[in-house]
């Protein structure tokens, strides 16, 4: 008898709607299949540029997120104590009236009393603009604890970044180094690309203390010790320099390698690039092969100084003059504009400027730094955990692929000097790096070191190398600076976030103290381009620098996995003053689900799920572009909410109108925008530039710039909810200096001018801050902060250990108090590669702390979970409902602990009882676990005995929010990036190793 009920031709549903996934920030195109009004199936949109039809575990299970029992249903007003999770359901009118009252009072009093911080959203183009209209400087998203080190290092170095703003040339790269990447934002494209590379036989090297996921399929796994990548990358640079495997032509064309750096210790411009009176950088150029012994030419027009001499120059390092004689006579030079075409620039040597001072090409400073013994493979290998021969081999492999296996594409293009090139030469070596680099207190400099490695190989935006994704490249750094002042109408002069270029751009008061609640753009973290969400709660409770009235959070689980030192953060949220009032008077929170943070809010504004609202992935924000095309996308309501919830963006615009904010309410107080969809279509940031780039112009015929088009959203929906503008073929590579690209980018509104982007091998911006710390300029750091700023604002990247910051600061303070002179460069283990004098010796032996907490503890993202969101998903939690601590078997044996036992992981902060399992795929000095699987009982509508809290755990409890010195946040001294992965721990056995159960015991 046949299978009677075998239905082979059932339609998937009765309707299919395309939209954009939001189970993570990758933003793939999806098709939502509906049946009887319910979501029946979600699959990848095969026409979508991001995912080309594939869909990940999170995306497929979005259906269960959408129907999660933990969805919020109605606005909530707190009736119990904070943290008790006792609420009263209220109507939207009441909720909005209350919020309007709180915020209205603040705006009348002092807009900065609103701290508005957002988490994992992609609506910063809206939220940042809203903060600007409200007039608070206290706005940021979560980038400060996410990966601002990557963003800042990239933007200040080459006007782009890893993250999701660039990608390896998946089609052509022959060698990919993955530095500290477990998953990253470009979730599907990376997997897609890796699959392609493997099929092509390209080599993948995973540099990571842990081997899982991407590392599993890599050809080579380099188990580096956490926090030492800067040393490893430095040693690779050392080897490339030593063996002369550097793309000099690339350097002098596209970077500031040849720019002359003034050598005039003590002068106000020491270490800055020598410039003409128009501010154009200068370089030393060979006077011309055809004209031997020519005298240096007259100064370039506008130079005020006199010519410096007769064509002779001294050599560096000093004392080499005699040996120089072997090689022949010194070439004559002249000082010319560095960006001139057709010159023959010098990259080493010391040259006289027209004012008689000396200067050296930036490259020489870089080369001196990395050729030093500090970065010799033998000297870094112990600290990195990578054998010296391996380092040398990796360097040789990089050079081999970049130079001996170079590729040349027959694509004609025109450079920014108007010169035509028939082909594009490619260095098919690519790198990708993410939080393994970012989440350390040395991440900014480490990331810059990796970028330098790429640049020296000529491997940025060439065929086969790392590629920019439009709208990048921008100038390095991009021109927007953080707004500091308010206009008469109460709005800020610009966006609260940006890229400071000199001390004048900081948000500090006359005493040099921070102005922002998160201390971003202060002397503690001058380049904190994404803010420091991780510090907001503590500072707000401390009233440092000032008290705030309302903490307005959106989509950030600060009560749990987003918090550094979760237990302390949860206490702080409930802290009261002497009058019994909460120290943070009001907390408004928008979440879509019953997360841990909801429990701490006074007013909860329930958001819709991603299938119930309009959203916008704008080119003004974090677009969905890939290297081949600029692209943006929308999300649109696929089903109507079955609860009394509203899209947060609608609510935000509504609040803006109720508050009468400029551009949100008209003169009569009526809302300017009906809702977010209306805003997406009609709002213009600049003439013709709006949230969406596609189908602009009244007839929808314009791309990039054009008048608003009322049918725009309709057109998006007809086209899979995305818009794509392909980069012209001639603009495929060399975009930093490719006229074909830059003209297109300008027409799209991405860049203001079509000038070249000069990569900053030597980062002059950093030197400006260092000069201030040395007592120059209008805006200088307070005395106590000088040593720290001077040390970390090194224009050439360097490596320092995780104990460096603390010691540096402590002794700097002491030095400031006692008036001691700063000792000479310290050559102790942790600061060995420090270029500028370390302010002091450690006050306690470095070894002591290392001995008591000898292991590094880090986390990784599971591919199938997105932070906290996944545990409410009935399918995903069937994959992982608990996490364990993975430890190398040798390390386990040394404690001793048996595989599978319950034991303790302890840091100076306290200890956690966790289950331990052996994993030979990790460095023996590293322990790790999956991130954010552990949950707090009571949240996410999970049962009372859910493994997520009975057995699972969050490492965050053990991470201190302050750096060991307590003066600064536990993070990067340049950007403020949270140093999650600097955590040091030890393991302790438990007397009852077979009794399950997670516990937290913290030091008081």
């Amino acid at each position: 008898m046949a299978h009677k009920n075998l239905k082979l031709n059932e339609p998937t549903g009765d309707e299919v709607k395309t939209t954009t996934c939001y189970m993570c920030a990758c933003r793939c195109g999806i098709r939502v299949h509906l049946k009887n009004g319910r979501v029946r199936f979600i699959d990848g949109n095969p026409d979508h540029p991001v995912n080309r039809g594939v869909i990940c575990a999170k995306g497929s299970s979005g259906i269960m997120q959408h129907y999660s029992p933990a969805r919020l249903r109605k606005p909530l007003l707190r009736v119990g104590e904070r943290g008790e999770r006792k609420f009263r359901e209220i109507e939207w009118d009441e909720a909005l009236a209350l919020a309007t009252k709180w915020l209205g009072d603040i705006r009348a009093r002092n807009p900065d009393e609103l701290a508005f911080f957002t988490g994992r959203d992609q609506s910063q183009a809206l939220t940042g603009w809203w903060a600007q209209q409200f007039g608070t400087i206290n706005y940021a998203a979560h980038g400060g604890f996410c990966s601002v080190n990557m963003a800042a290092a990239g933007m200040y170095t080459f006007g782009g970044s890893f993250w999701e703003f660039g990608e390896p040339d998946w089609e052509r790269t022959k060698y990919l180094m993955l530095w500290g990447v477990a998953e990253d934002h470009d979730s599907n494209p990376i997997k897609f690309g890796l699959g392609k590379m493997k099929a092509r036989g390209a080599k993948i090297v995973a540099i990571n203390p842990v081997r899982t996921g991407y590392g599993s399929i890599a050809d080579e796994w380099v188990p580096v010790n956490p926090g030492t990548d800067g040393l490893l990358a430095g040693a690779l640079i050392h080897e490339l320099l030593r063996t002369d495997r550097v793309d000099f032509e690339y350097l002098v064309r596209y970077t500031n390698a040849h720019h002359l750096v003034i050598r005039d210790p003590g002068a106000v411009d020491d270490g800055l690039v020598a410039r003409d009176t128009n501010g154009k950088p200068l370089c030393a150029a060979r006077a011309g092969i055809q004209q031997p012994a020519a005298r240096p030419d007259a100064a370039p027009s506008g130079l005020h100084a006199t010519s410096s001499g007769d064509g002779t120059f001294s050599l560096l390092p000093p004392g080499e003059g005699a040996r120089r004689a072997d090689v022949g006579a010194t070439p004559p030079y002249r000082v010319v504009l560095a960006d001139a075409a057709g010159i023959l620039p010098m990259v080493v040597g010391e040259y006289g400027l027209h004012d008689g001072r000396r200067a050296v090409p930036a490259f020489q400073l870089v080369a001196e730094r990395f050729l030093a013994d500090d970065y010799a493979p033998e000297n870094v290998s112990e600290r990195c955990g990578v054998p010296a021969p391996t380092i040398r081999r990796l360097a040789a492999e990089l050079a081999h692929v970049a130079f001996d296996e170079a590729i040349e594409l027959p694509i004609a293009w025109t450079d920014t000097h108007g010169r035509k090139h028939a082909t594009m030469v490619g260095r098919p070596v690519s790198m990708h790096a993410m939080r393994g680099i970012a989440a350390h207190a040395n991440g900014f400099h480490t990331c810059r070191t990796i970028h330098l490695l790429q640049v020296l190989l000529g491997a940025i935006d060439t065929p086969g190398s790392f590629r920019y994704q439009p709208p990048y490249p921008k100038t390095a750094p991009p021109g927007n600076k953080p707004a500091k002042a308010r206009k008469p109408d109460g709005t800020l002069t610009g966006n609260p976030l940006g890229y400071p270029q000199s001390p004048e751009d900081l948000l500090v008061d006359a005493q040099g103290k921070p102005r922002r609640i998160d201390h971003a753009f202060s002397w503690g973290y001058p380049l904190a381009s994404h803010g420091l969400l991780q510090s907001v709660i503590r500072n707000a409770v401390d009233g440092n620098p000032t008290k705030i009235d309302t903490l307005f959070l959106f989509m950030a689980n600060m009560g749990w996995n987003s918090a550094i030192d979760t237990t302390a953060t949860r206490k702080l949220l409930c802290a009261r003053d002497e009058n019994g009032e909460y120290k943070i008077p009001h907390i408004i929170y928008s979440d879509a689900y019953d997360s841990e943070t909801v429990a701490f809010a006074d007013l909860v504004l329930p958001d819709t799920t991603y299938l119930e609202r309009y959203d916008c992935m704008s080119l003004l924000d974090r677009p969905i572009s890939d290297a081949e095309s600029a692209a943006d996308a929308i999300r649109r309501p696929v089903v109507a909410p079955d609860r009394d919830v509203r899209p947060f963006q609608d609510v935000l615009l509504d609040l803006g109108a109720r508050l009468g904010l400029p551009h949100m309410a008209d003169a009569d107080g009526n809302p300017v925008y009906k809702d977010y969809a209306d805003y997406m279509v009609r709002h213009e940031r600049a003439a013709g530039v709006g949230m969406l780039a596609g189908w602009r112009g009244s007839d929808g015929s314009r791309a990039g710039k054009g008048a608003a088009n009322p049918d725009q959203l309709q057109r998006y929906m007809e086209h899979g909810c995305f818009f794509e503008a392909r980069v012209p073929e001639a603009g495929a590579y060399y975009r930093m200096a490719n006229r074909d690209y830059l003209e297109w980018a300008q027409s799209m509104g991405f860049v203001a001018a079509t000038g070249p982007v000069t990569m900053q091998l030597y980062c002059e911006v950093l030197q400006r801050f260092r000069l201030a710390a040395q007592g120059h300029g209008e805006v200088q750091p307070p005395e106590t902060e000088r040593a720290r700023v001077a040390r970390y604002f090194d224009p050439v990247p360097f490596w320092y250990g995780d104990d460096d910051t603390r010691q540096a600061v402590r002794s700097a303070e002491r030095a400031a108090q006692t008036g001691d002179a700063l000792p000479d460069a310290d050559r102790s283990r942790s600061g060995r590669c420090a270029p500028s004098p370390r302010p002091s010796r450690p006050s306690e032996p470095t070894g002591e702390r290392e001995a008591s907490f000898p292991l590094s503890a880090i986390t990784q993202r599971p591919m199938f979970m997105y932070h906290a969101w996944g545990s409410q998903n009935r399918w995903l939690r069937q994959i992982a409902a608990r996490n364990v601590l993975y430890v190398h078997p040798e390390t386990l044996a040394a404690v001793p602990i048996t595989d599978g036992d319950w034991a303790w992981i302890a840091s100076p902060r306290g200890r956690l009882r966790v289950q331990v399992r052996a994993h030979a795929g990790c460095a023996s000095g590293t322990v790790w676990t999956w991130n954010a699987v552990g949950k707090k009982r009571g949240a996410w509508k999970l049962g009372k005995r859910a493994p997520e809290f009975v057995e699972g755990f969050l490492l965050n409890h053990l991470i201190g929010e302050r750096a060991a010195d307590r003066a600064y946040a536990n993070g990067d001294p340049v950007t403020g990036q949270a140093a999650w992965f600097d955590l040091k721990v030890r393991l302790e056995p438990d007397p009852e190793p077979h009794v399950p159960g997670h516990r937290v015991e913290l030091a008081v």
Partner: protein, 312 residues
């Protein structure tokens, strides 16, 4: 394999029932059964009780017990189906014997019916044993001791109940041959089971390297399973029993199903203490219950090799 109560009850109880039936039937066929009428009906009914209780228990193992009848269709290939058919067919001679006994009709019809009953009961036992024996995936169940073992256990446990009835019906009179035969069976049961345990303890365990086909690359160790929590597969097939538990249980099982009955028989004979027989029969069932529990708990399914070792 996870020891499931319904399957243990089924094989232990129905096994005893069929054991009893086949001995009774054989005795009737051979014409050596000492009683007629009620003397037949009581043990027959007792066997009926055991068999039916066992069969009913077995349906509790089914996901869709209401469709159990469908299991009769595939007798041409499936041992489970054959067992189903045989178990039902066995009710026919049982009814025949019952009717003949009720009607007090000894002689050839009873001999034929008895033989038929013995044959069907034996066949059912063989089918049951073959359900397990035929599974290539569970090495322990493919051991040569499984079929004889199952027959011996069934005969012993059923036989003890028959002996109990005989002793009772004859007013505590016990013969010599039957208890001695049971004694021999008890010894055989102990020997077969010990031999079985020795064999499975020595059998190589399939490794992850083998299961994944990656063994040629080196040592393969399961790092993470597909789920951090238990699933049907891990509960059902990756059930592992700690060695120390198994040693204790094995001892207990042999004491209960073989040693106590054996010693009991030896002691009962000189003292003509037939009353002890039901105690011994219960002891044997209890022992077999543990034995059967172990039969599952100690059997490692091939699929277990894919999973990380259980931590709890």
């Amino acid at each position: 394999m996870r020891p499931s109560l319904s399957v243990i009850l089924f094989t232990v109880l129905a096994g005893a029932g069929y054991g009893l039936w086949w001995l009774l039937g054989a005795a009737l066929a051979a014409g050596i059964y000492p009683f007629g009428g009620t003397g037949i009906l009581v043990p027959l009914a007792f066997g009926f009780g055991l068999v039916t209780a066992g069969l009913l228990a077995s349906t509790a193992h089914l996901g869709r017990p209401e469709r159990a009848w469908r299991a009769l269709s595939q007798w041409s290939s499936s041992w489970l189906s054959r067992e189903g058919v045989a178990s039902l067919v066995a009710y026919l001679p049982m009814l025949a014997v019952a009717w003949l006994a009720y009607a007090h009709r000894p002689g050839w019809p009873m001999r034929v019916a008895g033989g038929w009953l013995a044959l069907c009961a034996l066949l059912t036992l063989v089918c049951t044993a073959n359900i397990y024996r035929s599974l290539k995936t569970i090495r322990a169940w493919r051991m040569p001791q499984v079929l004889p073992g199952y027959l011996v256990f069934a005969t012993l446990s059923g036989g003890l109940w028959l002996w109990a009835w005989l002793a009772l019906a004859a007013g505590n009179v016990i013969g010599l041959a039957f208890p001695l035969a049971l004694l021999a069976l008890a010894v055989a049961a102990a020997v077969i089971k010990s031999d079985y345990w020795r064999t499975i303890d020595r059998a190589p365990v399939s490794t992850a390297g083998h299961a994944t086909g990656l063994g040629h690359l080196g040592r393969v160790r399961a790092f993470e399973g597909p789920s951090t929590e238990q699933t049907y597969l891990t509960r059902e097939m990756a059930f592992v029993l700690a060695r120390k538990h198994s040693a204790r249980l094995r001892k207990g099982a042999v004491i209960l199903f073989a040693m106590l009955p054996g010693i009991g028989i030896v002691l009962a004979l000189p003292y003509r203490a037939g009353w002890i027989a039901p105690v011994l029969a219960i002891s044997c069932l209890a022992g077999l219950f543990i034995e059967r529990w172990l039969f599952f708990a100690e059997a490692r399914h091939a699929v277990a090799a894919y999973f990380p070792p259980r931590q709890d």
